[in-house]
Point group: D2
Chain length 105, copies 4
């Protein structure tokens, strides 16, 4: 369960980083502003959460709650865009949010 | 208010990093186990919180709530030790916790 | 000297975070693509470097060399834009690059 | 090749985090001081390097060079200890150092 949550966080970091970079190269960048902004936050929060889980921190449940919020916000935005990188990111965010909600409970 | 909270977070990162390094050089390291562990978590959470505040993230209030918890746990442990680095760290943690609680409200 | 370098790194993190957020809200976002991309890298590298300096890591000189490169690339890009946030960021990057080059030597 | 290097960095973060936590619970903590110190640095540098690789940063080769140094130092220390967590960490560090050296070249 912890291992799955760590993996989901790391997948989400990778998807958010790739999505932000790809958004910044899109012709319709004007529509991707919120996407880049949320990718940035989500990657940072997922990265921290993964590390707190890896080290068995007492804060891991609280961090997972924050992480679920970050992932849900990012999924809601990315899910609105048709680009492959956005769809992949939204999927990684949803999966991570789901596992983090369970860890936080 | 935001600027004060960022400064308090960064002071706390510096105090925790210095305290962890100093603990790892103490003759009575056996008593400092929890201190190093909590310094590590607190520094990471404060660093993330400072950056979310700097960038005006929508997640800043939730991150501040997590940060206050991290700081309170670290202050409670470090405050029990007489070493100067622990006392300085406990003080930085208390200050950061106080400002983060306000930002989170 | 170390304290000055830490402060310069943290100022640079703050300037890069603020610049990236402000760029993402600019009407001429199309011209700010590289700026956002480099702000992101520079903020991350400066944040790590500050923490390695705070903890007295053996890696600090090598990290400062990487940090100087990150700052120089970001300053070169941001310095080309007339926006206040870009000019402030370029200045913070130049200052950080200068101090990091000294620490790396 | 990039994907392998990212995976090696993330495995190394996980191994270092687990090793640091486990060291802090060892009866012979007095002998593990350098191990905890180097685990901390190595985890931070590997985490940054993974993210720069994920996002396709121009700095990735320079970061990989720093990362290889961090991993080699950590492997040299952890490799001297018989604990399972140290041996696993040393192995993850060696693998990450090898792939980072290639990426840096």
């Amino acid at each position: 369960m912890i291992r799955d949550c760590i993996d989901a966080c790391l997948d989400c970091v990778a998807a958010c980083e790739a999505c932000a970079t790809a958004c910044l190269a899109e012709p319709d960048l004007d529509m991707m502003r919120a996407c880049v902004r949320l990718d940035r936050d989500c990657a940072d929060v997922c990265a921290l959460t993964a590390r707190l889980l890896m080290r068995g921190s007492d804060l891991h449940a609280r961090a997972c709650a924050l992480c679920a919020s970050a992932c849900e916000a990012c999924a809601a935005e990315c899910g609105q865009h048709h680009h492959d990188h956005c769809q992949r990111c939204a999927e990684a965010c949803r999966r991570c949010a789901e596992l983090c909600r369970k860890m936080a409970a």
